[in-house]
Symmetry: C2
Subunit: 260 residues, 2 copies
């Protein structure tokens, strides 16, 4: 891959591993926008959040190189992948970081656990316009082609505008036929949490172990300005995500509470 001065350089990653269909679909669409460098995780890293690999060394493998793309895989997390790419593997700082397409929605509080959104947030921390895409379909045969036109629309918008410092995008696509998608909805993260999260079992030795499981509980099913509502009603949800987690609206009250 040769990078000309006016080529757009796009860094891709995901959290479903190097063979994920969602990553292949994303790579194909993003090649329409520039030169693509993929740094995928070797294995599925779903639910790894912004975990960093600090206790073991990282290794990187170049898998493929064509005129339009270069594909690596690394043994770390999605956040490691972005850090490695920006610091060691890329010719220069990329213009965009794009993560996904995740197998399953990352709406509401899933933004906190998602490896896909972690990679997106990591790109944003480097001052790069960053977007994470997820398809609301966990089935192994999920059809990612429904996402192509949505991705094109969002990224075309990013060719016209830059995101503010410290803000990236969390885009979730409903799992419905493309012609039934009603449109794109800019919205906020829905309030919710996970419930009944473990299955308790006995191993053959009689010792207890637990599997993580559970279901999502939407705290505000009536609200119509949330990502959960958008997805449930046939819209693509676009949530601007802030890397600043300060609860600014509560600063004053808390200051008064502590008399500072």
């Amino acid at each position: 891959m040769t990078l000309e001065q006016n080529d757009r350089l796009i860094l891709l990653t995901n959290d479903d591993g190097m063979y994920a269909a969602g990553l292949r679909a994303l790579t194909e669409v993003m090649e329409e926008f520039g030169k693509v460098v993929v740094v995928s995780t070797q294995e599925s890293m779903s639910g790894m959040s912004m975990a960093l690999t600090v206790k073991t060394p990282l290794r990187v493998k170049l898998l493929e190189e064509t005129d339009r793309r270069r594909v690596y895989t690394c043994n770390g997390t999605p956040t490691d992948s972005i850090k490695l790419a920006v610091n060691q593997l890329l010719e220069r700082k990329p213009d965009w970081v794009v993560a996904g397409i995740n197998h399953g929605a990352n709406a509401s509080v899933s933004v906190l656990y998602s490896g896909t959104m972690a990679a997106t947030i990591e790109g944003c921390l480097y001052g790069i316009d960053s977007v994470g895409f997820s398809l609301s379909d966990f089935s192994p045969t999920a059809d990612f082609s429904v996402c192509r036109e949505v991705i094109r629309t969002v990224m075309r918008k990013l060719t016209e505008m830059r995101l503010p410092e410290g803000i990236c995008l969390n885009v979730n696509i409903p799992s419905i036929p493309e012609n039934e998608i009603k449109g794109l909805l800019v919205c906020r993260q829905s309030k919710g949490n996970w419930k009944e999260e473990f299955e308790k079992r006995k191993d053959p030795m009689g010792r207890t172990y637990y599997w993580l499981t559970g279901f999502f509980h939407n705290h505000e099913p009536e609200a119509t300005d949330t990502d959960e509502w958008a997805l449930a009603n046939g819209y693509v949800s676009i949530v601007p995500v802030s890397v600043d987690m300060t609860a600014h609206s509560y600063l004053k009250t808390l200051k008064e509470g502590f008399n500072t």
Copy 2:
């Protein structure tokens, strides 16, 4: 441990593992406030963010039980520890989740990577008043006794007031003699990121590998209302952290951008 109806039930965890001096110091102080259940991680889980264990089963071991405390350890992450405790190990929903005392500061963007703050955020997602404590000292001989009075002050405040839904506290304590601490400062998360994050080496076979390293770069060293400033100037920083990552201030502009 017997739990009476008016006992305060406090869930503790950390990300430095079951033998961490910071966890022992925190446990001792928190016993002044109620009955304590500790669910620590077996190993150090520093930088694990809100990672979930989804591919392997979790196991829990009861290590110690006295009249005032019950101590478990689990083979998962800090977030797993809180989920396991709330769903499987506790008699009832705890009144507080308290994490730490972390070995090293979790100011600025470290809130995104920290296992200690991940556990705190997880508690908050369950609707529990949650606080994470960190000492700004990475040395193996760090003296956590400096934190005791700070922890007492913060937790006494929480006996008088409840935190709003979706907001928890990130408390960082400077590594200076206790009598030099100037006070507690409610402040915001400083803008910053990490730089030069890898050391590239060759293994004995001549193959390249990378170690995560690097240093923190403060983007706003002049600002006096940030956690970084507080710590550098002898104050304890208290940042209210929101589990809602929506960039609310940018919603309107983004909506106009997408014409929705």
